[in-house]
Symmetry: C2
Subunit: 342 residues, 2 copies
């Protein structure tokens, strides 16, 4: 390799190197399945307050690294801080998920309020000081489409029907919202990178409910613009895309967005992904979060299956979506033992 | 063609012929979006009673044919009549969906109670008498996996976690349930065909939540056994498979199940399906139900897109899932005009 070799295994893989055993981290690794997180969380019952309190968010980010020695820490935050920083009121009801004021869509700010997001950038600084040099720090944002689904519906929905309906019935209005989110996402990711994250992930959790033409317009094109915008400021920024549920549309996403690597959900066929994604591009994923919760022999078999499926290419072990809150910690240990001893 | 040419356009397409304009029917075409259905439904408020009352179920089956001249009628019924006929108590709460007694799983009957299902077979006879000779009649059942998700959870779930968890934690118990459903599905479909349906569709609504190895074991293998069992009794039975959400796993489903044709959801890339499915095998689908609800220019563009995507092969126009209850009837007429005038 010509590029300087990073101390961080995860960054070496993102640069195109195969590492054995593969680096590993888990989506939502800082979260409710950890007793130390649940104890910490009691110190700021309001979820957004917790995200915006640097010493608490930094501690939540670091907890799973101490316990499991993951190869990457991911900033503890939420994709809905972006709508909040665009002026849309956001709250989190315990056990109910997010609530956004959909009536505020017509009065959004033009620019992201970086003052509101300053605690996030401060959190990044605190985590950087505490992390061992071999552990990468990841920042993130939601993809414009996924963030828009919450902004339009005012909450999480099983089928993203409110945003999908608006996009069909009034594509101009919807496009204006997407445009604003593209610009906001670029600004937010650039500031995270400037504050010290090593790489970023763009979460398109609800990409999988769109038919091909809509997937192109509302997922692929906006993410491509976010990637281009970030790279205009920071040319070598490693960017992981996560188009959850992309399925047969993955090749278009990979070819057109310009992401450095792709994170795969648990439904996709690894053989399809390996064949369709260039051999030097890192893949990340894709254990079923439910088998991690189930544990036992099923977990062993599924873990081995994921490791084997991506054995011949740059690969980051992860889940196909976030870890489930009722996952036993012992199951995470069992999985890690299996990955790390090969 | 060597086979006798059917009067029914839909059967000609299932036999491998291209027809222009393509035949069309809609999943859930008999249902709540029709005012005449809502009026009929009031005559038997209990949903299962309605399904099991032949003159009412036959009338519901025929209503959309009279109004829209679809190329196929589909038996008005529900996939959960099978658990009911296996002895599991099933009820439908208004606005809440189905409720099944999950505690009854250990006391299921060995064989399907065809006496309980006799009204279904009687409904088929009534519909056959009333249908014009060019209209096909479709029977159906749920695929073993999809029916099992309701039987295990006791209700519909967003992620099918209860059945997926049981399948991971106790695969032997889950396999016994699947085996019973394979046998029941064979018996049920054979009786429908003997009663007079021209073809059957196997609905695997929740196929899309399984990772590849589980998809193979709980979707592909059981459906292959159902197809084999039906064909042992009725060798030329046309069978449409609907593995909703199969995505990149569609080729395995097509190659291994033995279905006559495949119905596609709206998320799959038509170019992928056309390339992966043998050229003489009919495809069915795959308009986004939400764009039919939205209407207008978006509906025109999406309808044209589906027609164009499958222009070169045997094709049945349909939705990618059931029609939404709040879909305006005028939108269905608009879509049909567009398909039928080319």
């Amino acid at each position: 390799m010509d590029a300087p070799r990073s101390e961080k295994k995860l960054l070496r893989v993102l640069a195109g190197t195969r590492e054995d055993p593969p680096p590993v981290w888990l989506m939502r690794q800082a979260g409710r399945y950890l007793p130390e997180y649940r104890a910490l969380r009691e110190r700021a019952p309001n979820f957004l307050d917790f995200c915006f309190t640097p010493h608490l968010a930094a501690e939540a980010t670091l907890q799973p690294i101490r316990r499991f020695r993951f190869d990457a820490a991911i900033l503890f935050s939420d994709i809905l801080v972006v709508p909040a920083a665009l002026g849309q009121p956001v709250t989190f009801e315990a056990g109910e998920g997010p609530r956004l004021d959909a009536n505020a869509l017509a009065q959004l700010r033009d620019d992201l309020d970086h003052g509101r997001l300053a605690p996030v950038y401060e959190t990044i600084g605190l985590v950087k000081q505490a992390l061992a040099p071999e552990v990468a720090l990841l920042g993130f944002c939601g993809a414009p489409w996924t963030v828009a689904t919450y902004m339009v519906a005012g909450r999480g929905t099983p089928d993203q029907a409110p945003a999908r309906k608006l996009a069909y019935e009034d594509p101009k209005t919807f496009e204006q919202l997407i445009d604003r989110l593209v610009e906001a996402s670029v600004g937010y990711l650039v500031r995270q990178l400037q504050a010290g994250v090593d790489a970023v992930q763009i979460f398109d959790t609800w990409a999988g409910t769109l038919p091909p033409a809509q997937f192109q317009r509302w997922c692929v094109d906006p993410v491509a613009r976010v990637v281009k915008g970030v790279r205009a400021a920071i040319p070598d920024a490693p960017i992981i895309g996560f188009p959850r549920g992309a399925g047969t549309l993955l090749p278009a996403y990979v070819a057109q967005t310009g992401v450095t690597a792709v994170s795969l959900d648990w439904m996709i066929d690894p053989a399809f992904a390996c064949a369709q994604v260039p051999a030097r591009m890192a893949l990340q994923g894709n254990l079923d979060p439910l088998v991690l919760r189930a544990g036992g022999r099923a977990l062993d078999a599924a873990t081995d299956g994921v490791v084997a499926a991506f054995a011949d290419r740059p690969f980051i072990f992860n889940l196909g979506h976030g870890i489930l809150p009722d996952t036993p910690v012992a199951n995470v240990e069992r999985m890690l033992g299996r990955i790390r001893t090969g």
